[in-house]
Amino acid sequence: MDKDFAARRRRDLIIAAALAAIAALTPLFVKDVVVQNIMILTLMYAGLSQSWNILSGYCGQISLGHALYFGLGAYTTELLFTKFGVLPWFGMLAGGVVSALIAMGLGYPFFRLRGHYFVIATIVIAEIGLLLFHNWEWAGAAMGITIPIRGDSWLKFQFLRTKLPYFYFALALCCLAWFVTWWLENSKWGFWWRAVKDNPEAAESLGVDVFNSKMGAAAVSAFLVAVGGSFYAQFVSYIDPESVMGFQFSLLMALPAVLGGIGTLWGPVLGAAILIPLTELTRFKFGGSGRGVDLIVYGTLIVLISLALPRGLLSLFSRPKKTGVAR
């Protein structure tokens, strides 16, 4: 039985390594910049959704305010870079730490809320963050920050002529988020999180520190999402409040996980692989019509999935349960 379990864990790791290797090779064959762009965004959202899944999927604290951490990562990096000349690599770490700290600071009052009330709080807080940045003169207010371009450089993590470095970074981020999830899944934290999600009162009676479990999940989740935000800021080289902290990011982190299978290891990757290319293609195709059409596509998809497969697409592949008879 233990062997089965260890074998399953190893199989997941091998599949992930194989997928990562295949992904790493695709740019050799795919030279189209538009397609490369879609691949970068897909990998990025897969990583973001995987990170979101740690707090919302495993620990069950549904957040629709993760855009806040995404934006904080972006802003921390670019403010440090444009105002103090700190290299984006350090800015990225700083953004992660700032976001993790803020996530815990917010968790302190809000993890006492349950269910829908918690969700509402996350939305409201992210909107407040958005408004603050809209009005914060020093941070560029509504005008945002344009990242000065000084030519291709790994040190400054900016590239004009090629998208490949961004692609590999997005891949690395996705792999990191997946690996962290894989590793935590079979740890005390992973078990605590799932217990907290399913039944906090029972978890408490079994010695689980419910409050700190949530805090831990929030910190890891926010840190990784902020790293994604830093990356995105470098990738688009211009940020303003809406373009890195808008509500759509919160949705785009949640939807892949929900579509693929919330609280599962592979759900976010699968969901992102379907959803993001679809969004980008519909946007490409119905360009100029605003954000309307792609959002209609999402909406319809999510409604259909939640009606037909409430546990996500992955539940299609789950093996039939073993049936044992109790003695």
Partner: protein, 243 residues
């Protein structure tokens, strides 16, 4: 030797309602103690006070020589108090083995050891064949047993059982009784809240009867069931006359 568990003058008020008034009980090491009483006697409240769901309005609770009155439930679990819930609270999206691992993690920080401990407990409670089934797919009697298994995985000194035998078929209840005996034989003290007198009485070493929030009678089960006060509390005045 001091008692493993002791409550001293415990009161619990919910607004104007007094659920426990001046309850002082003690449970010795290695005992199986039954906490019985009619509906609304305050059994569940006392049970929850001992488990640490809420602190008593007044009074103190001592466990293993330590004052645990203000300790949260999770810390009490670490100190050695395990419990089950009257309305089962399985982790429904997790498998049976994973449910038990959560409990085992209290004393085993290494995953491999926690998993081994969990398998041991499933073997002990007769759930081994169901290890990889989702908790939501268990039948009610199995869910009750999972509650016990999870609590046992925390390696408690005192196991609090909240109506684990209620609502089971006679065969299932007998299996449950055997399990409780087995638990005690493994050196764990048991305090059980129970409703069904005829199942509990042969099982327990001592019975504590609560009525209207107070300790009514305490003693050997055979004496307790004959006590006029107990008969009156359960059945009303008319039936106590002959006693």
């Amino acid at each position: 030797m001091t008692a493993l568990l002791e409550t001293r003058g415990v009161w619990q008020r919910f607004g104007g309602l007094v659920a426990n008034s001046d309850v002082s009980i003690s449970v010795g090491r290695g005992e199986i103690v039954g906490l019985i009483g009619p509906n609304g006697a305050g059994k569940s409240t006392l049970f929850n006070l001992i488990a640490g769901v809420l602190p008593p309005t007044q009074g103190s609770i001592l466990f293993d020589g330590e004052d645990v009155t203000r300790m949260p439930a999770a810390v009490r679990c670490q100190r050695g108090i395990g419990r089950t819930f009257q309305v089962v609270k399985s982790f429904e999206t997790m498998t049976v083995i994973d449910n038990v691992i959560v409990g085992a993690l209290v004393r085993n920080t290494v995953m491999r050891e926690a998993r081994r401990k969990a398998h041991e407990v499933l073997e002990f409670t007769g759930l081994a064949a169901r290890a990889d089934v989702l908790a939501s797919d268990l039948v009610p009697a199995e869910k009750r047993r999972l509650e016990v298994a999870r609590a046992l995985a925390t390696e408690p000194k005192l196991l609090l059982l909240d109506e684990v035998l209620t609502g089971l078929t006679p065969t299932e209840a007998q299996t449950g009784v055997a399990l409780v005996r087995k638990v005690r034989d493994a050196g764990i003290t048991v305090l059980m809240v129970e409703h069904v007198m005829e199942i509990v009485m042969p099982l327990v070493d001592r019975a504590i009867v609560l009525d209207l929030g107070k300790v009514l009678v305490e003693g050997k089960p055979t004496e307790v069931v004959r006590d006029p006060k107990v008969i009156k509390a359960y059945l009303g005045d008319r039936h106590a006359v002959g006693a």
